[in-house]
Amino acid sequence: MKEEKVDVAVIGAGAAGLAAATVIAAAGRKALVIDREDFPGGILRQCIHSGFGLKYYHEELTGPEYAERATIAAQKAGASFALGCTVTDIQIDMMGEFTLVLLSAADGVRKVHADAIVLAMGCRERNRGNIATPGTRPAGVFTAGSAQKLLNLEGCLPGKTAVIVGSGDIGLIMARRLKWSGMEVKGVVEIMPHPSGLARNIAQCLEDFGIPLWLEHSVTRIIGRDRVEGVEVAPLNHGEPDMSRSFTLECDTLLYSVGLIPETELAQQAGVLLDRDTGGPLVDANYETSVSGIFSAGNVLHVHDLVDFVSEEATRMAHCVLARLDGAPSAEKVGNEVGSNLKYVVPAFHTPGATTNFSFRPLIIADEALLRAESEGKTIWEKKLRFVRPAEMISVTLPGELLGHAPITFHLQDTATR
């Protein structure tokens, strides 16, 4: 059996894993990036559309271009790769050393020993089962991302006529992609009163093609025995479908774009505690999980809307990994909480005196808003924000001198004058 020892095992060769491995390897540490796919780049490779990298690379790139740049950077820094390998187990010995069990077609079972682990497995899509759409169970029901993989990596059209459930960005991007590939798109059905994807994707992926967006509507039934033949759609009245106004859309394909969830099976297996609000690992200000030596960043930590933020977060995390390898103690933990209008804050802890970047998911739509940090009943910091949307993560840096030994509660307030 093949066995090797590295300083850091990075699980996942997507944007987060590549950015982390680049920093770690550039510092002279041995970093091994493990991915079950045969190519590095993660989901970026199937996102052939443009719009990535404006912040991180200062130019507009497609997903594959972003992936290739990040891969080359990691290779140049000296990171090594174990591709086509699935991590099946993470073991921890008495000395705190980790052993990862890898399974691959090429090498069979293989073991990797590491002093630290970076969890960068990204997220997966919620599907029909997660939102419990009633009806038959025919072929032709896909998540938007799996249809994207079929079309962009395997060159297969998922069908002829599609309806998209949910207005997440992947669904919107796929609406345009299907149109450009000769399919018909009957419309996008969204239960919320506002789209969950970015405004620019509503403009360039739906409006450009005259694709209808039914807000506050729900797919109440899937019709068809062997293959999807249509869906029943009903407007929502106080959250309940109004069946007297329901209508049927004929289609042979249904794409779900109804949100993403961190891919945490492996993290849980390693004993890492999860954050109830993000669904990802609970981390301190160094992005270290509840298991000493296991770190996490990117979409497995919390679902980001921009890959640029993923790369930035993984870069910050990698510097913390390096410091710990060099003997720095684990971070002192003071709890942070969210109050009004925020779904979560990452990290959920801060270290007194250490400048920290915080990420938030807002729950409101506001053209102008105030983000406020409160500690011991006093406002210790505040920032005015423009165009707050649930689809867009908020990322801010608080200077270390403001972060003391008392817990902090963050509040978001709509301040737009109407």
């Binding site: 052939i48 997903g63 962009n152």
Partner: protein
């Protein structure tokens, strides 16, 4: 004539308010110069960056992702896609290599967005 548009220049998605009087176009609501140039372009000659996959002879990468080197006139997108879907590319290809040069004299190329040995 007045029109409002969502800027597609970046994820921010600014709401642009456009006023057109003869040849003069005034843009408000943009937070950067990209918004103004997008609005003017959109009112006179709307363009989009086109992305697609092109068939290759490679087993490793049977479908090569490509894009236009610049936003391409909207009205000419369908014929361009039809041309791309009929093509077959033989590797090696490097990210950035031209796949289709100077499309119909537009000065815009189709370039590869991934490398393939």
């Amino acid at each position: 004539m007045k029109k409002s548009l969502i800027c597609i220049g970046c994820p921010r998605g600014c709401r642009l308010e456009i006023e057109m009087e003869g040849e003069t176009i005034t843009v408000r609501g943009n937070s950067c110069p990209r918004g103004e140039s997008y609005a003017k372009q959109e009112m006179t000659n709307p363009r989009r960056v086109v992305t697609a996959v092109v068939h290759t002879t490679s087993e490793q990468l049977p479908w090569l992702p490509v894009k236009t080197s610049a936003p391409f006139p909207k009205a000419a997108i369908a014929p361009l896609l039809n041309r791309l879907y009929k093509m077959t590319v033989t590797p090696p290809v490097h990210c950035g290599d031209t796949i289709l040069e100077d499309i119909d004299g537009s000065g815009i190329h189709v370039v590869a967005t991934e490398s393939c040995r």
